[in-house]
Symmetry: none
Subunit: 160 residues, 2 copies
DNA sequence: GGGGATAGCATGGGGAAACATGGGATACAA
DNA sequence: TTGTATCCCATGTTTCCCCATGCTATCCCC
């Protein structure tokens, strides 16, 4: 699961180190690398492992094959996605078009969002981050986990 | 389940022992360590095992994927979380940014809260603690357990 | 019940591996 | 040939892995 945030350097050759945490997340996938596409919700990139693509594929295949929305999703996600393989040091080469789409220049911020991640211009993201924390705080009462409060057959009963 | 309170040393390298009780709680998780993030409700840290994150993930995935509140929670929790693995002695390295956020210096107090825990500056927590006990006392009549009275054949007898 | 042995816990420090990054060499395409 | 993409190597920094130590709670034997 993708967690945490970190800002890395996008060098003159268009290379950027994928945070080690993120590499660990996709290390079980067949493909040693990440999939990245321009978000259709703003000037940033979205990404994940190849298994995320399979999840999207599974979801879309349950829709009507000629449904316009399905078509739109397929074009917006699959068609625009790039498969970026890690080099020996855990970097990827980010195509210019993607870097330009997200206004990346010199630095880029990877943010973990569980199943996927996003890549932002660090300054742009800082604005998002502040707004998000404010909104999260204002709506914190909605954040209620349900289900079994405790599962007595699990860890907590272990003597230690 | 995370219970009790204990204060441990945050050493010069940024390491701190996670209380043994807490380690036992997460010992059934795949990931041998804890997840910690800055609370969006005050200058302290929140944490739990990887399974807590999965619970949050399950909760959030039931919301509209591009809902602003969902987005805010994802950014406030997942993005700000760090995955801290235990070393051989049960310690974690607490990133500087997190320690600074919670005003931690030399000592930190872990407080168990059932499914989650918090990490506080010991002095700050003392203030909270007094206020919390007062409020608990004033509202003690609301503390009503429902359901089965007691099941002596379960967790509490499994000590070991 | 007392006293010693033992295992787990919290903490300190040194060294090795991993990480992020830069630069050069090589291969391929325009 | 020039531009571009990929691979390989070098390097400073950070992290984390391993060892050592004192303390405490527990157990066991007497």
């Amino acid at each position: 699961m993708f967690l945490s945030r970190s800002t890395n350097t996008l060098d003159a050759k268009g290379r950027i180190s994928v945070p080690a945490d993120f590499r660990a997340v996709v290390s079980d996938d067949m493909f040693e690398g990440i999939i990245v596409w321009p978000s259709f919700d703003g000037p940033y990139l979205e990404g994940g492992g190849i298994s995320l693509m399979r999840d999207y594929q599974g979801f879309l295949e349950n829709m009507d094959p000629y449904d316009d929305v399905r078509n739109a999703f397929e074009r917006a996600i699959f068609t625009e996605s790039k498969r970026l393989a890690f080099d020996a040091n855990g970097r990827v080469s980010l195509p210019k078009a993607l870097a330009e789409y997200a206004n990346l220049d010199g630095q880029a911020t990877f943010i973990g969002l569980g199943r996927r991640f996003e890549i932002w211009n660090p300054v742009d993201y800082e604005v998002q981050s502040v707004a998000a924390r404010k909104m999260a705080r204002e709506n914190r009462h909605q954040l209620r986990l349900r289900g079994q409060p405790t599962r007595p057959d699990q860890a907590e009963s272990r003597g230690g």
